[in-house]
C-alpha cells in the first residue's frame, strides 16, 4: 500500500499541468462520442423504415423508462458526492456513495433487462425488424457501458475497503466519475432521440 501512495505523491509534473490519466480519459470519452454518434446515426437513419411491426409506439412505455432514466441521472449526483467525500478524506461517506451509485446503475441496467424482456414478449425480438435491430444494439451498447461503469465502481469500493484507496488517490474516483457522467449524458441523448421524439405507429 505504501508503494501506491508513494507513486501518487511523486508524480512528475506534466507539460500542460493536467494529469496524464485525466487527459487520457477525456480523449477516450471524445473518441467514445463518435462510437455513440455512429450508433445514433444508424438509428436515426432507419427511423420509421421498418417494413413490419412491432413499431416503437406498440412497445414503448414512456413513464416506465422515464423513471429508470431518472434513476440513472440521480446516480450522477451520488457520484459527485462520492468524489467530494474522498477529497475530504471521509472514507465512510465515500463507500456509501460509491455503493449508492453502483446500486442506482444496477437498477437502471436491471430495468433495461426487464424492459427488453417485455419487448421481446410483445414480439420485438432482436431480428424482428429494422427498429428492433437498431434499438437493441444502440441501447444494449449503452447498457454495456453502464455495466462496465458499475464494475469499476464496485472495484473502487472493494479497493476502499482494502485500504488501497487513500485520499491522495481521489483522482481515480474522479476518472471513474468522468466516465460515469459521460454515460449518463449519452443516455439523455438516447432517451430523447429514441423514446421521446414520436415516430408514429407504422411505417412512414
Amino acid at each position: 500500500m505504501a508503494t501506491i501512495e508513494h507513486a501518487a505523491v511523486t508524480e512528475h509534473p506534466t507539460s500542460t499541468g493536467l494529469p496524464n490519466t485525466k487527459l487520457a480519459m477525456w480523449l477516450f470519452l471524445a473518441s467514445d462520442c463518435l462510437l455513440f454518434g455512429a450508433l445514433i446515426s444508424s438509428y436515426v437513419l432507419y427511423r420509421g423504415a421498418s417494413l413490419v411491426g412491432p413499431y416503437p409506439n406498440d412497445v414503448f412505455d414512456i413513464p416506465y423508462t422515464s423513471v429508470s432514466s431518472f434513476v440513472l441521472l440521480a446516480s450522477s449526483l451520488t457520484m459527485v458526492l462520492a468524489l467530494s467525500a474522498i477529497q475530504r478524506g471521509d472514507h465512510g461517506r465515500l463507500r456509501i456513495w460509491l455503493l449508492a451509485t453502483a446500486m442506482l446503475g444496477l437498477t437502471f441496467v436491471g430495468g433495461q433487462v426487464y424492459e427488453f424482456t417485455v419487448f421481446a414478449h410483445e414480439g420485438l425480438h432482436l431480428t424482428a425488424n429494422l427498429f428492433s435491430t437498431t434499438f437493441y444494439v444502440l441501447t444494449g451498447f449503452h447498457g454495456t457501458h453502464v455495466a462496465v461503469g458499475i464494475l469499476m465502481l464496485l472495484t473502487l469500493l472493494s479497493f476502499s475497503f482494502a485500504g488501497r484507496l487513500p485520499q491522495e488517490r481521489a483522482e481515480t474516483v474522479e476518472l471513474v466519475g468522468l466516465y460515469w457522467h459521460f454515460v449518463d449524458i449519452v443516455w439523455i441523448v438516447i432517451f430523447t432521440v429514441v423514446y421521446l421524439i414520436p415516430t408514429g405507429s407504422g411505417p412512414t
Binding site: A7, A24, T127
Partner: protein
C-alpha cells in the same frame, strides 16, 4: 541498470513482477517504448513479407490471360488479405513502430505516458493479425475486399468476413488505446522548453495521426459491430429485404477509410520532413506551413469520404460537394510538396540512401496525388472507378508514398536504433531496384485501367489486348520483391558490424541524436532543456553575423556523457498487458465457434486487467 533500481516490493497477485532485462521473457514483459517499437517494426515487416507474397501470387495469376493458377475464390481471398495485411498489419504498425520508438526521444521524455498500455496495444495488434490469419485454417479467409462491402460481406457463406469483422475490431482496440497513449505523451510529456512549435514535424504528424485514429476508429468499430450482428445474429442493418441500406456500410466504412488514408501517409510525410533538412544541411523550409498543412489535411480528411462512392448514386449535389472538398484537400498536400522542394533548394545535399528514399517519396507521391485529383472530377471518376487506374493511384500513394517514406526512415534511424549502419552501397542498389520495380509494377496499371481492365477479377481473355502491360506489371512486382530481399540481407549483414555508433552519425538536428546510439534504457541521463526548434543543431552550430554557419567550440557538441542513470525511476516490466490482450482473440473465437470460449476470453482479459491494477505500481 536503471530498470532494476526499482525498490524491491512485496509481490502481489498471481505473477511476480518480472525483472529480466534480456532474453525472451524480457520482450514479452517489456514496457520500454524502444523495445515495443522494435517489436512493432519486426512484426510489421514479417506481415509485409506475407502480404507481399500474396501480391506476387496475384501478379502471377494475372501475368498471362486465361490462367487458372488461382481459383476465383482463392483469388478473392488473396486480394482481400493482401489489402487487410498491407493497411492494418503493415503500414499502420510500421508507423506505430516509428512513433513508439521516436516520439519520447524526440520530445525529451523517458517513456510514453502509459508504458503498460503501450505493451497492451502491441500484443493486441499482434493477436489481431494472427487471429485474421488463422482464418485460412478455420473455414476460409476474408474474401470481400478490405472494404468489406455489404450486402456481399453479410451473405457470404464462409466464415471469412466474420474473422474480418472481429479481427479488425481487435486491431481497432489496439490502435485506439495506442492513439490515446501517444497523444497524451505528445501533449503532456515534453521536456522543459519543448513547446509545441519546437517539436519536430514528425512528432506533429504523430499527434495528428493519433487524433485521426481516435476519431475515425470508433466509426468503423460501429460498422464492424453492425456487420458482425448481421452475420452472427441475423439483424438487418444492411439487409435491403428488411428495409436496410447497404450504403450505410459504405458511409461508415469510408468515414473511417478516408482519414485512414492520411493515417497511413502522414507518418511518412513526417519522416521525410526530418530526413530532407538533415541531408540538405538546411532547416525545413516553412516549418509552420508544413505543420499547419498537416493539421489541415487531418481536418479536411473527415470531409471527403464520399469520393469513394461517386458511382453509388448519391446524386449530383453530394457528388459535386465531395468532388470539391477532394480538390481542396490537394492544396495543403501541395503546400507540403513545395516546402520540401524549398528545403532542397540551394541545400548542401548528401545523397544518402535515406535521402534517396525521401526524394523518391516526393516524386512518387506527386504522381499518386495527381492521379488522385483526376478522381475528384466526378465524370472522370465514373470512367475510372473499379478499374486498375484506381489500383495504380492508391499504390502510388501508399507504396510510392508511405512505404518509400518508411524505408527512408529505416535507413535514417537504423544507426540510432541498432547502433550499426545499414550498408549505403546495398541501400542505393535497393533504392534503385525498388524505384524501377515499383514503376514497372504500378505505372502500367494506369494504362490497363484506362483500357477498362476491372479490379478484383481473377482473369481476363486474351482478346482484350491487356496481356503486355500485365506481364510488365508482374515483372515489376518481382523486381520489388528482389529489392525487399536486398534490404533483408543488408539488415542481417548490419548486425555483423561491431556495435559502436556515434550518437549523431548524420550531423542531424533533433533530440533523439543527443543521446547515445542505441539510447540507454532511460533515454537521457539528464532530461534535456530545449531552447529552439532543431535543438541539437543549435547546440552544434552557430551563425556568424555574415550568416555563415560555424561549429560551436568544444563543450557544446551535444555528445552524450555516459552516466549510469542510477537514480532514475523507470516503470517495471509486466506480464499483464500480454495476458489482458491474450483474452481478446479467445473472445473472438468464442463469438465464432462457441459461447463458453467467449466467456473464457473475457475472463482472461478481466484477470489480466485486475492483475494489472493490483500490480505494485512503479509507474
Amino acid at each position: 541498470m536503471a530498470s532494476v533500481s526499482v525498490p524491491a516490493e512485496r509481490p502481489r497477485g498471481l505473477l511476480r513482477r518480472p525483472t529480466a532485462t534480456t532474453g525472451f521473457w524480457s520482450w514479452v514483459a517489456t514496457v520500454d517504448h524502444k523495445k515495443i517499437g522494435i517489436l512493432y517494426g519486426v512484426t510489421a515487416f514479417a506481415f509485409f513479407i506475407v502480404g507481399g507474397t500474396e501480391a506476387l501470387l496475384i501478379r502471377l495469376q494475372l501475368a498471362q490471360p486465361d490462367q487458372n493458377l488461382l481459383s476465383p475464390s482463392a483469388y478473392n481471398e488473396l486480394f482481400t488479405m493482401h489489402g487487410i495485411t498491407m493497411v492494418f498489419l503493415v503500414v499502420m504498425p510500421l508507423s506505430a513502430a516509428f512513433f513508439n520508438y521516436l516520439i519520447p526521444l524526440m520530445i525529451g521524455a523517458r517513456d510514453v505516458a502509459f508504458p503498460r498500455l503501450n505493451a497492451f496495444s502491441y500484443w493486441a495488434f499482434l493477436f489481431a493479425g494472427l487471429f485474421i490469419y488463422s482464418s485460412w485454417f478455420l473455414g476460409g479467409a476474408p474474401n470481400g475486399g478490405w472494404f468489406g462491402y455489404a450486402p456481399n460481406a453479410v451473405v457470404d457463406p464462409t466464415r471469412g468476413m466474420t474473422f474480418y469483422a472481429i479481427g479488425l475490431l481487435i486491431a481497432g482496440i489496439a490502435s485506439t488505446v495506442s492513439a490515446v497513449n501517444l497523444a497524451v505523451t505528445v501533449i503532456n510529456m515534453r521536456a522543459p522548453g519543448m513547446t509545441l512549435f519546437r517539436m519536430p514535424v514528425f512528432v506533429w504528424m504523430g499527434l495528428v495521426v493519433q487524433l485521426l485514429l481516435a476519431f475515425s476508429l470508433p466509426i468503423i468499430t460501429i460498422g464492424l459491430v453492425e456487420l458482425l450482428f448481421d452475420r452472427r445474429f441475423g439483424t438487418h442493418f444492411f439487409n435491403p429485404a428488411a428495409g436496410g441500406d447497404p450504403v450505410l456500410w459504405q458511409h461508415l466504412f469510408w468515414l473511417f477509410g478516408h482519414p485512414e488514408v492520411y493515417i497511413l501517409v502522414l507518418p511518412a510525410m513526417g519522416i521525410v520532413s526530418e530526413i530532407l533538412p538533415v541531408f540538405s544541411r538546411k532547416p525545413l523550409f516553412g516549418y509552420q506551413f508544413v505543420v499547419f498543412s498537416g493539421i489541415a489535411i487531418g481536418f479536411i480528411g473527415f470531409g471527403v469520404w464520399a469520393h469513394h462512392m461517386f458511382a453509388v448514386g448519391l446524386g449530383p449535389v453530394a457528388n459535386t460537394a465531395f468532388g470539391i472538398s477532394t480538390m481542396i484537400i490537394a492544396v495543403p498536400t501541395g503546400v507540403k510538396i513545395f516546402n520540401w522542394l524549398g528545403t532542397l533548394w540551394k541545400g548542401d545535399i548528401r545523397f544518402t540512401t535515406a535521402m534517396l528514399f525521401a526524394i523518391g517519396f516526393i516524386a512518387m507521391f506527386v504522381i499518386g496525388g495527381l492521379s488522385g485529383v483526376t478522381h475528384a472530377v466526378v465524370p472522370s471518376d465514373y470512367q475510372q472507378t473499379d478499374t486498375y487506374y484506381i489500383v495504380a493511384h492508391f499504390h502510388y500513394v501508399l507504396f510510392g508514398g508511405a512505404i518509400f517514406g518508411l524505408f527512408g526512415g529505416m535507413y535514417y534511424w537504423w544507426p540510432k536504433v541498432f547502433g550499426r549502419m545499414l550498408d549505403e552501397r546495398w541501400g542505393k542498389v535497393q533504392f534503385w531496384t525498388m524505384l524501377v520495380g515499383f514503376n514497372l509494377a504500378f505505372g502500367p496499371m494506369h494504362v490497363l485501367g484506362l483500357q477498362g481492365m476491372p479490379r478484383r477479377i481473377q482473369s481476363y481473355p486474351e482478346s482484350l489486348g491487356l496481356t503486355f502491360w500485365n506481364l510488365v506489371s508482374t515483372i515489376g512486382a518481382f523486381t520489388i520483391a528482389l529489392a525487399v530481399l536486398l534490404f533483408l540481407v543488408s539488415a542481417v549483414r548490419s548486425f555483423r558490424q561491431p556495435k559502436e555508433m556515434a550518437a549523431d552519425p548524420w550531423d542531424a538536428r533533433t533530440l533523439e541524436w543527443a543521446t547515445s546510439s542505441p539510447p540507454p534504457v532511460h533515454n537521457f541521463d539528464e532530461i534535456p532543456v530545449v531552447h529552439a526548434l532543431d535543438e541539437v543543431w543549435h547546440r552544434k552550430y552557430a551563425e556568424t553575423e555574415g550568416g555563415r554557419v560555424v561549429p560551436v567550440p568544444a563543450g557544446g557538441s551535444g555528445e552524450p556523457g555516459h552516466g549510469e542513470g542510477h537514480a532514475i525511476h523507470l516503470p517495471g516490466p509486466s506480464y499483464y498487458p500480454f495476458v489482458a490482450s491474450l483474452g481478446l482473440p479467445i473472445l473472438g473465437y468464442g463469438l465464432i465457434f462457441d459461447w463458453w470460449l467467449a466467456g473464457v476470453g473475457a475472463m482472461v482479459t478481466l484477470a489480466g486487467l485486475y492483475g494489472w491494477i493490483l500490480e505494485p505500481s512503479a509507474e
